[in-house]
Symmetry: C2
Subunit: 281 residues, 2 copies
């Protein structure tokens, strides 16, 4: 397993691999890897000749009052997990390598970046799109693997890759959950024991939504009302948003028809957690 | 000479060439080719194994009241010129191919896009950066050739290529001029006989600026004053801007020191013309 710190070296290795006709799979992460990342890496390893993992806590996707500084980092543990999953290359650049002094270029994806998490976190998806474009230019992947937990990120990256014409496929893999339903996230480590317990309400509310849809409820207003009730039972929970949107355009869906994303962001104490389900009616 | 209309086919050919270890040179244009483009193509042909020319009048770099519709097009003449310069591939996509319905992604280069021509043409360099990124993703060039006439475009594209980490070199070639000094531009065809004559004032004013610098004048205010006088002698001329800026940051230079770009944009009748010189003090 190679650990690469510079874009130039990463590019050199990727281009060499491409010249030999190898398929490159790529899993971009912010590190502090968990079983959700491991699932992406296993799929990536299985479907490609070379499996590349990037670890980079990307400052441009954090707002000024968000948790960039505190975001958990554990290089040693990440390397162990990567080795276990037989990662071929870890791309591990510094902030200065990715955003040297005088950096000026940003990628904006209109409309779909401004809703849901983008509404609560202005500039977030601009930062995400920019770093992913830079990583694609460095890694040259045939296929890029993302977790469905970050549903809007998947939509935004797919749109960017299509619009800019990158010769890269984007695959989203199902959210990996704890046994009790909590979606895996590096931010779960912020939670106290009581917060961890109340955080279960996110998935509980999504399961209820699914039940309602299965019972032919099609009004997003009613579904959101019922989900809100579940969340509000938790004293430490504060709703950022609960939304039913078209799975492609991310526009609000009054009636649930076709492919629908039901997504929510909830503060549990100071920790902002997200979760979602996709449904087809 | 192949003519390619789709990104996919362009990408396929470029990747095939790269796998064979060939160097790809690329000249992006809006067509209506003149001797300035020909000079870029000759250099491109000489320095690479494959010379690719793109012809695309890019709607996103035109403002709502600009000349996108009227911009001159002459496919037949362009193909003849390309053949004469031994171009290997013309990439000739449609607007629908580059911006299909539902297109949402744009690239912004902060600060340097907002001054000079960017100040007069809001959104212009966002459109330029976006299309050039899309073209680079399609063509995979080792080297990209631009004309120095569009000095700010050169600075913006160089910044984008560096920031996003494209493995592409950007080379700017000297402005090609008519015998009387008029910088070649596809827009010169808009000029009446009298306008064509008054358009000479752009280069005349730049030559005067150079003379003043050679005589140790270092105040940009005085240089701009003298240039303004020359332009104002022409009844059909209207100044958009005349500026002395740092050649890299494009920030205003009060005193001429180091690498300086002296640039101007002048309306001659309804036609907006630009020209510039680089000086080192």
């Amino acid at each position: 397993m190679k650990i690469i710190a510079t874009v130039k070296e990463m590019q050199r290795l990727a281009q060499k691999a491409k010249r030999l006709g190898k398929r490159i799979g790529f899993v971009p992460t912010m590190g502090y890897l968990h079983e959700g990342h491991a699932a992406l890496l296993r799929k990536c390893k299985k479907e490609n000749d070379i499996c590349i993992l990037s670890i980079f806590v990307n400052p441009t996707q954090f707002g000024p009052h968000e948790d960039f500084q505190q975001y958990p980092r554990d290089k040693k543990h990440d390397e162990m997990l990567a080795k276990k999953e037989k990662v071929d290359i870890i791309f591990y650049p510094s902030v200065e390598e990715m955003y040297p002094s005088g950096y000026l270029t940003y990628i904006e994806i209109e409309k779909i970046s401004d809703v849901l998490c983008g509404h609560s976190r202005p500039g977030h998806f601009r930062g995400v799109a920019t770093i992913v474009a830079k990583l694609i230019n460095a890694v040259n992947p045939d296929t890029l693997y993302l977790g469905q937990k970050d549903a809007q990120q998947v939509v935004v990256i797919k749109q960017m890759v299509k619009d800019l014409g990158y010769p890269t496929r984007v695959k989203a893999l199902a959210t990996v959950r704890e046994k009790d339903g909590l979606a895996l996230s590096s931010r779960n480590m912020y939670l106290s024991r009581e917060e961890r317990h109340q955080a279960l309400s996110l998935y509980q509310s999504l399961r209820l939504a699914k039940e309602l849809v299965n019972k032919d409820e099609r009004s997003s207003q009613i579904i959101i009302q019922q989900m809100t009730k579940i969340i509000k039972k938790n004293s430490l929970a504060q709703i950022d948003y609960i939304s039913c949107v078209d799975a492609k355009t991310l526009l609000p869906a009054k009636r649930l028809k076709g492919d629908i994303l039901i997504a929510l962001a909830i503060f549990i104490g100071k920790t902002r957690l997200i979760d979602n389900i996709l449904i087809s009616t």
